[in-house]
Amino acid sequence: MYEIQSLLHAELLCGEEYLQNEVYSACCSDMMSDVLAYVKDQGVLLTGLINPQVIRTASMMDMICVVFVRDKAPTEEMVELARECGIVVMCSPMRAYEACGHLYYSGLRGNAGDKHV
């Protein structure tokens, strides 16, 4: 996940101890309903939505990293919740489309493939 942080010029808000873990796929959505219904084993969630349900949804789906795009800042309460759930939280200045493009181009696909970041 170090590479995700550098590719997205992201600020790390919590979960430094998990950064060495690898992830194999990601998804991007502002609709938590869709994440719950369509996501399979994607480890990373990129979103522009800010509320505690983003973290809770990620936790329910066993995701290990949430990236907030467009410099949206999660609240301290959300970061604390992520800490409790063992989830890495980052904040990127990029827009969702751009951030996804960078990750996809570096080999992080939408479904669990064999390449990884």
Partner: protein, 145 residues
């Protein structure tokens, strides 16, 4: 949260606050943590989590909150979500993928795609909806393990 430990089952009880959206989903996060401590497999935890979380969110966005009970039985985990909300007029319709009465406000919060009930059905081995207009809704789900 109240925990009761009888000889045959462990029971968790939660009051789900319907006035405060920011706490919606808390009970499900807690249950997942408990199931992990009890040593359940990732698959069972995931199925219980998704089904309960969808149901808990529904109670908050459609029914002003309610109660959630989770009973860890000998071969199944039972989830009972009870509310005193408006009830569901047409269960068949509500069970359809994409059917939702959620407002734009709810959608702006990331919910209301009309996939909750179908998802709950998909991830559980048993699901029953008891509902009466103006009285409330009780949803009972079971995940076998």
């Amino acid at each position: 949260m109240r925990v009761t430990n009888m000889s045959e089952a462990i029971r968790f009880h939660f009051d789900v606050d319907g006035e405060n959206f920011s706490s919606a989903g808390e009970a499900s996060v807690m249950v997942k943590k408990k199931l992990r401590q009890l040593g359940f497999s990732p698959d069972v935890m995931r199925r219980v989590s998704i089904a309960m979380y969808e149901g808990e969110i529904n109670m908050v966005i459609h029914a002003h909150g309610g109660t959630a009970d989770v009973i860890v039985g000998e071969d199944a985990i039972e989830i009972i979500l009870a509310d005193k909300g408006p009830g569901i007029p047409d269960i068949n319709k509500a069970m359809q993928e994409g059917f939702s009465t959620a407002s734009d406000n709810i959608r702006a919060l990331g919910f209301g795609a009309g996939m909750g009930l179908p998802n709950m059905k998909k991830y559980t081995d048993y699901m029953q909806i008891d509902t009466e207009i103006g009285v409330g809704t009780t949803i009972t789900m079971r995940v076998n393990y």
